[in-house]
């Protein structure tokens, strides 16, 4: 099996889906000739031409809205928001339109659009190139939000998102793009949206997280294993709607639960995970549910000192895991 990077898995999934189905097309800012500012659509313009790798005007609501229109017609648009931070002008199109089109038309119409966006910090991106925006959308029934952690999951879940008959927000951690590499089969495969994945089996503590933080938890778990602490790690993969069954199973398994996100602490995905654990696992818990998250400040500052203070890292995760194990 070939080892490729996280972003190569994005490109591979897009290319294969565009080869498989001519209704699949890409639209966004700089996705064409430039191949995307992160190079996620590298080579697609040459292979599929400007009609299927569409450079749009700089206007995010139109990128989403035009994509939604094409999806309602029967196409399979993959819209790119250059940075997740810039999705805000498109929120009305995503929440008022994409999320509700099937419901409001009583199943007459649907909007099978995939909206990709790089999120997350640790790249000197400051306030507006570092944000995690999943919580903005994670209480909107009708939407699905996928946030993969590995190249294998990226490819399988991006293909599944494109083939899904409902709108999917696909958030890719921009620092993972070149940092994270992994084995990816060359043949076609998909992974189920809505299913979490156990990334490490363990029996002492449970870490539930998603995205780049999965890797921080895995690294911390290896260190802690040397101290005799055996961590169970659940990767949510889909953060909305949540895989309640897997969350309950993972939490009940060890009775000690640490929830990790790079997003702000209050009102985020892990807050909902915490509620699910509280509602369902009271008698299996041996410690209070712990949340490790970014601070509740507007976004990640630019200066390296402050950025580091905000950003999640393996050391922070390791400390929180050890504290919980020792509870």
């Amino acid at each position: 099996m070939a080892v490729i990077s996280y972003i190569q898995a994005v490109t591979q999934a897009l290319r294969e889906e565009m080869q498989r189905d001519e209704k699949v097309f890409v639209l966004g800012e700089d996705v064409g000739k430039r191949g995307g500012v992160f190079r996620a659509t590298d080579g697609l313009y040459d292979e599929f031409g400007e009609d299927r790798v569409l450079d749009t005007p700089l206007a995010e609501s139109a990128i989403a809205g035009v994509g939604i229109g094409a999806a309602m017609y029967g196409m399979r648009p993959v819209a790119e928001m250059q940075f997740a931070d810039f999705i805000m002008p498109a929120v009305n199109q995503i929440i008022s339109e994409a999320a509700k089109i099937r419901y409001r038309s009583n199943n007459d119409w649907s909007a099978p659009i995939t909206i990709r966006a790089p999120y997350g910090g640790g790249v000197h991106g400051a306030l507006y190139h570092s944000q995690s925006v999943e919580a903005v959308f994670a209480n909107q029934p009708g939407l699905k939000i996928v946030m993969p952690s590995t190249p294998y999951d990226v490819k399988g879940l991006l293909k599944a998102s494109i083939r899904d008959n409902d709108p999917v927000l696909f958030f890719e951690h921009k620092r993972a793009y070149r940092l994270i590499k992994g084995e990816v089969p060359e043949e076609d495969y998909t992974l189920p949206i809505g299913k979490a994945d156990v990334k490490r089996e363990g029996s002492d503590i449970t870490v539930i997280t998603y995205g780049l933080c999965v890797h921080f938890a895995l690294q911390a778990a290896e260190k802690l294993a040397e101290e005799g602490i055996d961590a169970h790690i659940l990767d949510l993969r889909t953060v909305y709607p949540l895989d309640k069954e897997s969350i309950i199973e993972a939490a009940s398994k060890t009775g000690k639960v640490l929830l990790v996100t790079e997003d702000n602490k209050e009102g985020g995905i892990i807050s909902e995970v915490s509620a699910i654990v509280s509602e369902n696992c009271l008698f299996d818990l041996d410690a209070p549910v712990q949340r490790l998250a970014g601070p509740d400040i507007p976004s990640m500052p630019y200066a390296p000192t402050m950025e580091k203070h905000f950003m999640m890292n393996p050391d922070k995760v390791e400390k929180a895991m050890r504290d919980l194990a020792e509870f």
Partner: protein, 330 residues
């Protein structure tokens, strides 16, 4: 006898009479809905009155077997022209399960019916504009020759989605007809407080498309403008912006009281130009709408509206638990 204007447009006597019939049907359904609302039978009405000529004139200029309509909440004339029935509309008014627009999930005026290519809409205004552009883009990619007609009010022409959508269509030369139904009011705010330019159509130049302002009370003028725009679109010449100027004859909705922001004289003056009156006069002058024909038409429409009302009133509501369905594909 007055000049025959419709023959020059390629319209037969039968076609113009049919246009009038659809305008009148829209008006009578709308009027009935107000009565039902005031009688406490339906909770909400939002009106097409005063805009029927623009809506029907535009729709009849299209190929209603392949073109797409993305109406806004006043467009009863558009959806009737595209194949929705009086019964469908009454089912929507009463929020009954059989309502093809939404199964009783949305307020009346939130149209959608896939089989007639009427694209589902919402309440936040102007969101349908980029959708029309996306549908036209898909048609271009699939090498189809349909056009999409998207309508909205003059107030909505201030929304970002209008500007973003118009620019996108202009850049990619897509077959979209942007039709602004300028009825002079965005709820209570007059056009003078909505636009810094003289006409909405002045905005077209910024998006590389032609813009025209036509009399929205004249279905033939609207027909002519939209026909030319559809031809342009099908020929690959790109989008067109058309502004139809008429007047909103009713309050904004059944929950509005327009007496607090506009004079009765102004409304009375506008009623003199009401297309239901003026187009009927034209058809009488042409000898198309004879006294006999008019009686027949009124009786027929009255019967349609009565039957639609009775059917919808007696139809079943959706089961409460059905509210849980169709969040995602099932």
């Amino acid at each position: 006898m007055a000049e025959n204007r419709h023959k020059d447009l390629g319209l037969t006597d039968e076609q113009v009479l049919d246009m009038f019939r659809t305008m009148l049907l829209a008006r009578r359904i709308d009027e009935r809905m107000w009565l039902l609302n005031r009688a406490g039978k339906i909770p909400f009405v939002i009106s097409c009155q005063g805009q029927e000529a623009a809506q029907v004139g535009a729709s009849y200029a299209l190929d209603r077997d392949k073109d797409y309509a993305l109406p806004y909440y006043r467009d009863m004339g558009v959806v009737l022209s595209f194949g929705m029935t009086a019964q469908d509309l009454m089912l929507s008014g009463f929020a009954k399960a059989e309502d093809p627009n939404s199964g009783g999930r949305q307020m009346p005026g939130h149209f959608g019916q896939k089989k007639n290519r009427i694209v589902t809409g919402s309440s936040p205004v102007t969101t349908q504009v980029p959708h029309a552009v996306g549908i036209a883009l898909a048609g271009k990619m699939e090498k189809k020759d349909f056009v999409s007609l998207v309508t909205f009010g003059e107030g909505s022409s201030n929304q970002g989605d209008f500007h973003e959508g118009a620019n996108f269509a202009g850049v990619h030369k897509l077959p979209v007809i942007f039709m602004v139904e300028n009825n002079k009011y965005a709820i209570s705010v007059p056009v003078s407080k909505q636009l810094a330019c003289e006409k909405v159509s002045d905005r077209a130049i910024g998006y590389g498309m032609p813009g025209y302002t036509v009399d929205g009370n004249d279905p033939l003028a609207v027909y002519e403008a939209v026909k030319a725009a559809a031809d342009r679109g099908r020929n690959g010449e790109g989008p067109t912006l058309i502004e139809t100027v008429s007047y909103r004859l009713t309050p904004h909705s059944s929950d509005d009281d327009d007496r607090v922001y506009r004079e009765r004289d102004e409304v009375d003056e506008a009623k003199k130009k009401d297309s239901i009156v003026t187009f009927a006069n034209y058809l009488r002058e042409q000898g198309i709408l004879t006294e006999e024909k008019e009686t027949e038409l009124n009786d027929e429409i009255n019967q349609i509206v009565n039957e639609a009302t009775d059917y919808a009133e007696n139809a079943a509501y959706a089961e409460p638990e059905s509210a849980m369905k169709f969040v995602y594909e099932e």
